[in-house]
Each structure stands twice: as C-alpha cells, then as structure tokens.
Amino acid sequence: MSLRKILATMRRVLRQLSHDHRSMAMIILIPVILLTLLKYVFNDKPQMFNGVAPLLLGIFPLFMMFLVTSITTLRERRSGTLDRLMTYPMAKLDLVFGYALAFSIVGFVQALVTTGLTLGLLDVVIMGGTLPILITAVLAAFLGTSLGLFVSAFARNEFQAVQLVMPILMPQVLLCGLFVARDQMARPLELLSDVFPLTYSVDAMRQAAMNPTWTGDLTRNMLIVLGCGIAALILGSITIRRQET
C-alpha cells in the first residue's frame, strides 16, 4: 500500500465529482431540502420533528454515498480504467481506500451543511452537541461508500446498481427504529435489525441527540458502523480481480 497512491486516488475521485456541478449540488442540497420539508410536515408537532430529524442525519449520508459510490465504481469497472489500473503497480486497497476517503470527505461536507441547518434554522435541539453528530454522519457516509463499492460488483449496469438501493438499504431503514422502536417490533424483526449496520448509525444519532454526555453506547455504535464499513471495504476489494477467467 502507498499513501501517495491512496491520496492521488482520493484527489482524482473528488476532481471527478467537482467537475459535475449538478451532482455536487444535489449531494449537498437534497438532504437540506428534505429536512426542511419534513419540518413543515411536523408543523404542529415540533417535538416529533426533534425526535426524527437527528435519526435522518444518520441515514441520508449512507444513502447518498451508497448511490454515488456504486455508480462511480461501476463505471470504473466497466469503462476499462479498472482494467488499466490493475496492470499498474497499485494495490487494490490503494484504490479502495482512496474512494472511501474521498466520499467520507464529501459526507463530512454534507454533514456540516445538514447539521448546521438542522440545528441553526430548523430549531432541532441536540443534547450531546454537534461533535458526535458530525462524527456519526461521516461514519455513515463511509459505510455507505463501502457498501456501494461492494455492491457494485453485483451490478452489470447503472440501472441495476440504482435498483439495488431498494433491497439493500430500504429494509435497513424500515427496521432501524425510525418508524417503530426496535424493542417493540416482533422478535425476529428485532433480531434482523441487530445485524443491519444502518441500525447502529441511527442508534448513534439517537444517543447523541438524547444524552448530554458521551456514553459508552455511543462509542460502541460508532465502532460498529466503522467496523462494518471496513469489512465491506475489504470485501469490496476482493471483488476487484487482477485476473479474469
């Protein structure tokens, strides 16, 4: 592995994104618009909005980075550039870490804007302060990137890649405790939600929103999200083949 090559890949991916102004604008603005919309949905129930908004901050980065990464890496796989890179003196992990770093940075910028808006303009109160919220958002972005990278191996075209969001991410959203608290769901569903990584990103957000102090549970949830991200990243690098049969 080489730090220089990881950073070069990170810069390259960020440049690709930065040339695409429309995508950049969508990544940053869509969560902001959706949260504002939700604020008015809960117009007479600010208490409820206050409960839901932080959880969404743990879901949005994961969703968006999953989409962006799965398409970007699918393009890399199909355009011949991956073919080329695999004949280069480059470790597969250089490529994969470069991607993860780039999209985590984008996730961080997205989190800064979204959190700023939620706390500043939408009057959401978070007991634990902004730091755990930002860290969790970046971890969620990282997890989304890693999952997207891994899943892109199973899509033959962009159409399939986009559709994979539904079977892979939607069940995680339905069961993560956003709609019904996890311990109130049927036992099998609760167990299922235990193995979904998104659950821990949402739990971490809840911890940060409700506890004025940094709890052990918060740290544990963050580490689980990080661990799942790393695992998916390694699996993703295995799906990249030096040699094709």
């Binding site: 810069r11 690709q16 011949g80 073919d83 004949t87």
Partner: protein
Amino acid sequence: MFGAILWTMSETAVKIQNVSVTLGKHFEALRNVNVELPVGKVVGFIGPSGAGKTTLMRSIVGRQKLHQGKITIFGNPAGTSKLRDQISYMTQEPSVYTDLTVRENLVYFATVFGVPKHEVAKAVDDILQTVDLTPQSSQLVEDVSGGQKQRVSLAIALIGRPKLMVLDEPTVGLDPVLRDQLWNLFRKLAQQGTTLIISSHVMDEAERCEDLLLIRDGKILAHASPKDICKQTATSSVEQAFLKLVGKQ
C-alpha cells in the same frame, strides 16, 4: 559491434508457450499458441476481429487467466507484481476518465505508475506534446473528439517509459497524418529499446511493423517480418499473404 547486434536480436521480451484460453464455457479464444517476441521491435498482431488478438494481449499483460500454458515477460511470469512498472496496456476502447480533464487523467495515472512527484508535471507536458494534445490539456475528456480521446488513452500508455507497451488498435480511426506521426513515434521508441505490441485489423498497418503475427481463430497463422511473410507465400502484400494463408487452412 556485430556481436552486440546479434545479442539484441536474440533477446526475448515475451515468450508464449502452449497457451490456450477458453472464454465463457466453450469459446476457444486462443488455441495452443507458441511465440517468442524479440526486444526492441514493433510487433504487429494482425487478424480479423474476433481472431483472439485482444485475448492474447490481455494474457500478456496478465489480465486474462490462462487455462493452459505460460507466458514469460523479461524472464518473469506474466501478471506478477514485479512487471507492473515495466509494461503498459492500452485497451481498445479509450479507457480514460471522461469526467476529468486530459491533464488530470495523465497526472493521476503517472502518480499511480510511480513517477516521482517532482517529475510528474514535466513528464505529462512531454507526453502531451508527443501525442499533440497540448492545446486540449485542460479540456474535459468528454468534450474532446473521438480521435483525441484515443490519443489520451495512448498518452497514458506512454507514461513512465515502460519497457513493453501493449497497444490494442491504437491508430484505428485516426487521420492519416496523425497515424503517420504515431507510427514514427512507435519506431523511435522501438529504436530506444522499447518493445511494442500493436494490434490492428487493418492490413496496411501491418506493412509498418518489423515483426508480424497473423492471427485467426485463436491460432497463429504466420510469424515473420512482413517481407518474409510475403516471400514465403509468394505474394506482394500482407493482405494477399493473409488471404492465401487462410485459404490454405
């Protein structure tokens, strides 16, 4: 001096022994190929599309798994990490990042190839000049013409002065003037000791190579210089020679 010439002539860049590759379940893309390619020559892989040229190239650069046989490059098995900074591969479709500028593409690939940091800018400038893309350097690749895209892809293959360059149809679709320029470049590189493997399905390109492989149905029909191939088949052009060889089968 004579001895030195003999020595260079006998040096082998690529040694292919009993190589067979099956694609999918049944398609035999390569059938028991045996070839030795010399160092410092422009070697042409000539044959109709679907003949196995690309599969042979992918096997040489180590991207294709062999189902039988072995390939040695400068004494090392194809695909080993040791070879990765000695060879370059240009795929048939331009494999470039279309959402980056021409220069950004080159800088990235140069960095990944391991060109030292302080040499990257100069190396990229030189290569841009070589492939005549300096005026387009800050344009996005998706905004340049098809032929220019092709040249960006070729430019990437020139990065880091690899000892072996494997170029899949590098001049197809380019205008005659540019094609001529590039062939001069290929010859110059070969004189400096680079081994170039260039595929084409256009027979007039074959005449420009020093060493030729006529390929069809995954098999090597002939391997010699264009002159010798014509002599052996008693024809006056590689195209005629090819047709004659195919007819004989």
